[in-house]
């Protein structure tokens, strides 16, 4: 019987299955960061248990780390203790790789894993972070877990799971100039809603997906969780294999060919059946901008802020009204007239080299508008930063008036000093526009790196296609 990619991955990891369908699933890769692991390591120790397989662990500090003045260390004592706790835990138990604060390869865990070849096709990848869905771009079964499950994986190398339903998200056609993977992700969320993927593993397929780079596929899978799906994935093709060749933890020599032969089977079979199929056409997707406090509150750049009065569902209408009040926006305002205070280019969604190249191409030879108080570029990792500097992208950003920072999660969730003040409005390449996400009272608009760059130059949203 033809199988979906998800079914193949599931079957390949079942250690034991109970009668009710609950299965013990083996975990190949465990990504660890400082925020969701301390209580798990403590729990392990209190129970007198040892980690099952430390060579499955790749760890880095990312959420709390500052993005400037590294010579001063971490000045917030609460953040510092959390980062030092990770250092101590990893030193004690060990890991395949650890990239602590200031290490040249430190960075956002979802950028660091793939770029080091520590995320390989066919793996189960887990992390105490919802954006672990990112790794599905490599045909992995990858999802976020809570801290109790972090401890469970440390202790047993397994998780108790129920099989998800499957959804095929087919995107065909050709993306227009200035339309990116981020816009595809937001357009999908606009279509199915932030709970549309709840209970599903989504496979992204179609000619648009095939045409995306690994960076673009990671952006798309990263946002699967914003559509409610813990897992997003893309089948293996030549793009996947070419990306992995030569990466530090990718298989070498004789094992490479064997691995590649296996990886090529990691796609849904012809005729495989999905529980739900959703199709989008590339031609209907333009650059997207969120206007509210949920990623599903999103429209194209040439649209206006929606009017709650036009919404029939009373709960949705109430949510829209509350969002407009929080965002300080009025219904029917053209998106292009929304003026901004800050711009953030970074996060596990959009901080890879391709994102920085795309933003720099918009910025080159232009200046950040005087009304923008802060325009930040935060590379996803030390390796991305170095690559960008080798290509001179840092100079492009700096010359335009952007600040060029050290890697980390930064203003995506504002656990460090990078944040919005109450009432400030930001064009952000991150993944969540929830109330307070980038700082209490801050107002977030999610966009692609190109659109964020264009907004920084104009001081308000504008259609990046007019600048290209």
């Amino acid at each position: 019987m033809p199988q979906t990619l998800y079914e193949k991955l599931w079957q390949d990891h079942v250690v034991h299955q109970q009668e009710d369908g609950t299965a013990l699933i083996y975990i190949d890769r465990h990504l660890v960061h400082e925020v969701t692991s301390p209580q798990a390591f403590e729990g392990l120790k209190l129970a007198g248990r040892k980690p099952w397989r430390v060579s499955s662990i790749v760890a880095t500090a990312d959420h709390n780390t500052p993005t400037d003045h590294w010579e001063r260390g971490i000045e917030d004592p609460v953040s510092r203790l959390q980062v030092e706790t990770l250092d101590a835990n990893i030193r004690e138990v060990g890991a395949l790789a650890f990239f602590p604060f200031k290490d040249p390869r430190q960075g956002i865990v979802h950028v660091v894993g793939p770029e080091n070849g520590a995320t390989l096709p066919g793996m189960t990848v887990v992390c105490g972070d919802s954006h672990t869905s990112t790794h599905g771009a490599f045909a992995c079964m990858a999802h976020g877990i809570g801290t109790s499950e972090v401890e469970h994986v440390l202790a047993t190398q397994c998780l108790l799971q129920k099989k998800s339903k499957t959804m095929l998200l087919q995107v065909d056609g050709a993306l227009g100039k200035g339309v990116t993977a981020k816009d595809v992700a937001l357009a999908i969320i606009a279509r199915i809603g932030t709970a549309g993927g709840t209970g599903y593993a989504i496979e992204f397929a179609g000619s648009v997906i095939r045409s995306l780079s690994m960076e673009g596929r990671m952006t798309l899978c990263n946002m699967a969780i914003e559509a409610g799906a813990r897992l997003g994935m893309v089948a293996v093709d030549q793009v996947t294999i070419d990306y992995l060749r030569g990466r530090p933890f990718a298989p070498q020599a004789a094992q490479w060919e064997r691995a590649v032969a296996h990886w090529r089977t990691l796609r849904s079979d012809e005729g495989a059946e999905f529980d739900r199929v959703v199709a989008l056409s590339a031609e209907e997707i333009g650059p997207q901008v969120t206007w509210g406090t949920s990623p599903e509150m999103v429209v194209a750049i040439d649209a206006c802020v929606p009017d709650p009065a036009q919404e029939g569902d009373p709960i949705k209408r109430e949510g829209m009204t509350r969002a407009l009040t929080y965002m300080g926006l009025r219904a029917n305002l053209p998106i292009r007239e929304i003026r901004l205070d800050k711009v953030f280019i970074g996060s596990c969604t959009n901080s890879r080299i391709e994102d920085l190249r795309a933003a720099a191409a918009v910025v080159r030879g232009r200046k950040v508008a005087g009304s923008i108080s802060l325009a930040l570029v935060v590379p996803g990792s030390g390796l991305v930063k170095r690559q960008a500097e080798d290509e001179g992208l840092d100079q492009v950003f700096r010359a335009a008036g952007f600040e060029w920072r050290e890697p980390g999660c930064s203003m995506c969730l504002a656990m460090n000093a990078d944040r919005l003040e109450a009432g400030e409005r930001c064009a952000s390449t991150s993944n969540r526009n929830f109330e307070g996400r980038q700082g209490a009272g801050g107002r977030t608009h999610l966009v692609s790196p190109e659109m964020a760059a264009a907004a920084a130059i104009a001081g308000h949203f504008c259609d990046v296609r007019e600048l290209l």
């Binding site: 129970a47 060579s55 959420h63 917030d76 809570g146 047993t156 397994c158 932030t194 709840t198 307070g436």
Partner: protein
């Protein structure tokens, strides 16, 4: 983990859809390396009029008296009633820890986000899914009935309303068993240690590159 068998408690209504885990417990409180102490900062940005920071005395902060959990009639509530897609966003288990630390043992909603739903069971919190119509009716009941208490009987999978109306609810059989007994997942899994070892050995031979 504390057992969950039967709960009779006051209900607090949080009439919003898509409540995300950033709203349940804002990021600045995630810097803690402990599992407890998050209760005073549950829904921090909605509960207080100022911005909370870890280590502050929250009892002295100005409260938003319009927020439901600050209203006198809902003090001591252990059941939270809310709308669809509760717990969306970040996987932070600090969200169920904060709910538990505040005193909630059950959340009733039209739907839950997957990771949050799973995290609840690991902490002895019962998430109950009811239909949109049943949720609407419960909101109306709670609004109309000061001191409205519900009984949750996990064994019978029933929610009992004042006046005796019983609403059945579904729960995964294995998760129910774990809650009723307060079982530790890790202990259960380690009973299969030999199976895990043999699976791992086979995998190491078949896909050695995964074990570099």
């Amino acid at each position: 983990m504390d057992k969950f068998v039967r709960l009779e408690a006051l209900v607090a209504p949080l009439d919003r859809a898509n409540v995300d885990t950033d709203a349940i417990i804002p990021k600045q409180f995630l810097k803690s390396i402990k599992r407890s102490g998050f209760g005073p900062n549950l829904f921090d940005e909605w509960r207080y009029l100022d911005v909370g920071e870890p280590g502050r005395d929250d009892s002295k902060r100005p409260r938003n008296m319009d927020f439901v959990l600050n209203q006198a009639r809902y003090q001591g509530a252990q059941i939270l009633l809310t709308r669809k897609n509760f717990g969306c966003g970040s996987s932070r288990e600090h969200a169920p820890w904060a709910l538990l630390d505040f005193g909630f043992r059950a959340v009733i909603a039209e739907s839950f986000a997957d990771i949050f739903f799973n995290n609840c069971f690991k902490n002895g919190i019962l998430p109950i899914v009811l239909s949109a119509g049943e949720i609407d009716a419960l909101f109306a009941l709670v609004e109309a009935t000061p001191g409205c208490r519900l009984v949750i009987d996990l064994e019978r999978q029933e929610l009992l309303c004042p006046g005796g109306k019983a609403l059945p609810f579904a729960v995964d059989a294995f998760r129910k068993e774990c809650l009723l007994n307060g079982w530790d997942d890790i202990g259960l899994t380690l009973r299969h240690a030999e199976l895990i070892k043999s699976f791992e050995e086979r995998r190491r031979i078949e896909q050695p590159w995964l074990f570099a």
